[in-house]
């Protein structure tokens, strides 16, 4: 019996799809049976990043609406036999998929696979509800920016109301070291303290990620880039291995007192 993990963020463009593709690839590299589900209906991306777009015949809406069997819609990866993708629909009506439909698909896949990694759309609408419906646990992706962290916090609040087997875990993606040092973006510590959930990985901002995704070859396939190592470390932590985090500790500024609140009456 496999485990379903949803990759979510609230805010768009922080790296959910990239994370899904790379964690999936890294787990496949470690000889796990993995199925990726793209739930971003109307804006499917995961197939492009995986370089599998040209193989799509059926999609998740076809499965839900009974036009094909689940197995027919699954696309086998070019590199790993143990890795498959259930693509999102590009054109169909968004409301076709329901939480019940998702739960059924995920439950069926869990019989076959070790891990089901679900790529969640941005936002907190129906698409989000569907993506988390069948998941046993969640990984929240954020960038080290206030707005992204704020949305992650909102999402964690919503996830905490679901009955998942574990508390959500956090990935901080696209870290730029020099900006963190100069205090222009939030520090890892600050983010983890605020969100108060366990960190499962940090990924630097790496051009190799963009290049790789553009070529339909997830960066995790390439042994050298830093981001690739980070994604593979995350996969190892998912498997329960104890891999130490790369430390990014910086010195904090001195606290100053503020009392100048600006008063007004409602």
């Amino acid at each position: 019996m496999g485990e379903a993990i949803v990759i979510t963020s609230g805010k768009g463009g922080v790296g959910k799809t990239t994370t899904t593709a790379n964690i999936g690839t890294a787990l496949a590299l470690m000889e796990k049976k993995v199925c990726l589900i793209d739930t971003d209906i109307g804006l499917r991306n995961l197939d492009v990043i995986m370089g599998l777009e040209n193989r799509i015949i059926y999609d998740i809406v076809d499965v839900v609406e009974g036009r094909c069997r689940l197995n027919q819609a699954l696309i086998r990866d070019k590199r790993f036999d143990s890795l498959t993708l259930l693509p999102a629909a590009q054109t169909s009506d968004k409301s076709a998929v329901t939480t019940e439909g998702m739960k059924k698909i995920v439950a069926e896949l869990k019989q076959e696979y070790d891990y089901i990694i679900i790529d969640c759309p941005a936002g907190i609408e129906q698409g989000f509800q569907n993506a988390i419906a069948g998941a046993d646990r969640a990984i929240v992706v954020t960038n080290p920016e206030k707005s992204s962290v704020r949305d992650a916090d909102r999402i964690i609040g919503l996830l905490e109301q679901e009955d998942m087997t574990e508390a959500p875990r956090l990935i901080i993606n696209r870290i730029r070291n020099h900006m963190m040092q100069s205090g222009d973006i939030m520090e890892v510590d600050e983010i983890v303290q605020l969100l108060a959930i366990d960190l499962i990985g940090i990924v630097i901002d790496d051009e190799e990620v963009i290049k790789a995704s553009n070529n339909g070859e997830p960066v995790a396939l390439n042994p050298n880039p830093k981001a690739s190592i980070a994604y593979r470390n995350i996969a190892r932590r998912i498997l329960g291995e104890n891999v130490p985090l790369q430390s990014l500790e910086e010195e904090k500024g001195i606290f100053q007192r503020f009392k100048k609140f600006i008063g007004m009456r409602s």
């Binding site: 206030k146 704020r150 949305d151 916090d153 909102r154 964690i156 609040g157 905490e160 605020l194 969100l195 108060a196 500024g253 606290f255 100053q256 007192r257 503020f258 009392k259 100048k260 609140f261 600006i262 008063g263 007004m264 009456r265 409602s266």
Partner: protein, 228 residues
């Protein structure tokens, strides 16, 4: 042998009159007697109104009875009722006081988009994250970081306050007062509280020591007992 207790006793003192109503006779009987007593009092219409404190002993006086007493004492008289005291509290009222004066203790993080609203004082063990909001009819104590919005006395009690282990709120609100964080980047403060400063007519943030100096009765229950 047994001397009959007077139904109405009126005593004068520096603050005005104290009017005691025997709690063993029926209310209607007491009113008749009261009317009599009031008519026989000397009243000088040229002087300021005389304040009257009513003591009704172990009699329960509901709103209707209060109104009737007030009307009878004030109408056609040179009196002003300042208080109607009774030893008896209705059970519902007592429960409401308890509800409003009790401390609601919660152990969680109030995340962005979440609102925690309580009647009475709030003791939150955990953070209020940016975008999160806590509200209480009484005081708010945050054993954690206050980054979001806190609204104490949201039903209008200006004597309430907000205390936090670490304060860097987006907004503080007390009753109908609002203050917001400054626009420049500033660090938060440890172990401080927000209260309404009557002189400055706005919310100020200061050391928790301020509370012991400014507010001797910080419990909502005591507030209720004193203000009725």
């Amino acid at each position: 042998m047994h001397e009959k207790k007077p139904i109405i006793t009126i005593k004068g003192n520096r603050e005005g009159l104290t009017l005691m109503i025997d709690d063993e006779v029926p209310f209607e009987e007491a009113l008749v007697e009261l009317k009599d007593k009031l008519q026989s009092t000397q009243q000088n219409k040229n002087e300021p109104l005389v304040s009257v404190k009513v003591q009704s002993g172990n009699r329960f006086v509901d709103e209707e009875k209060r109104d009737r007493l007030r009307v009878m004492i004030e109408e056609d008289n040179h009196f002003k009722v300042t208080a109607i005291e009774t030893n008896v509290v209705h059970r519902d009222e007592a429960l409401r006081w308890k509800e409003e004066s009790g401390i609601k203790r919660t152990h969680r993080i109030i995340r962005s988009g979440q609102v925690l609203k309580v009647t009475g004082d709030l003791l939150l063990i955990g953070d209020v994250n940016p975008g999160g909001k806590v509200m209480a009819t009484g005081n708010i104590y945050v054993l954690g970081n206050l980054f979001g919005i806190a609204h104490a006395g949201y039903k209008g009690d200006r004597n309430t306050f907000i205390a936090a282990s670490y304060m860097k709120p987006t907004q503080l609100r007390i009753a109908d007062y609002i203050s917001r964080a400054p626009d420049y980047v500033a660090d938060g403060v440890y172990m401080e509280c927000g209260v309404i400063d009557d002189n400055e007519d706005k919310i100020i943030i200061d050391s928790l020591k301020l509370l012991s100096r400014k507010r001797n009765e910080i419990s909502g229950f005591e507030r209720r007992m004193q203000n009725g």
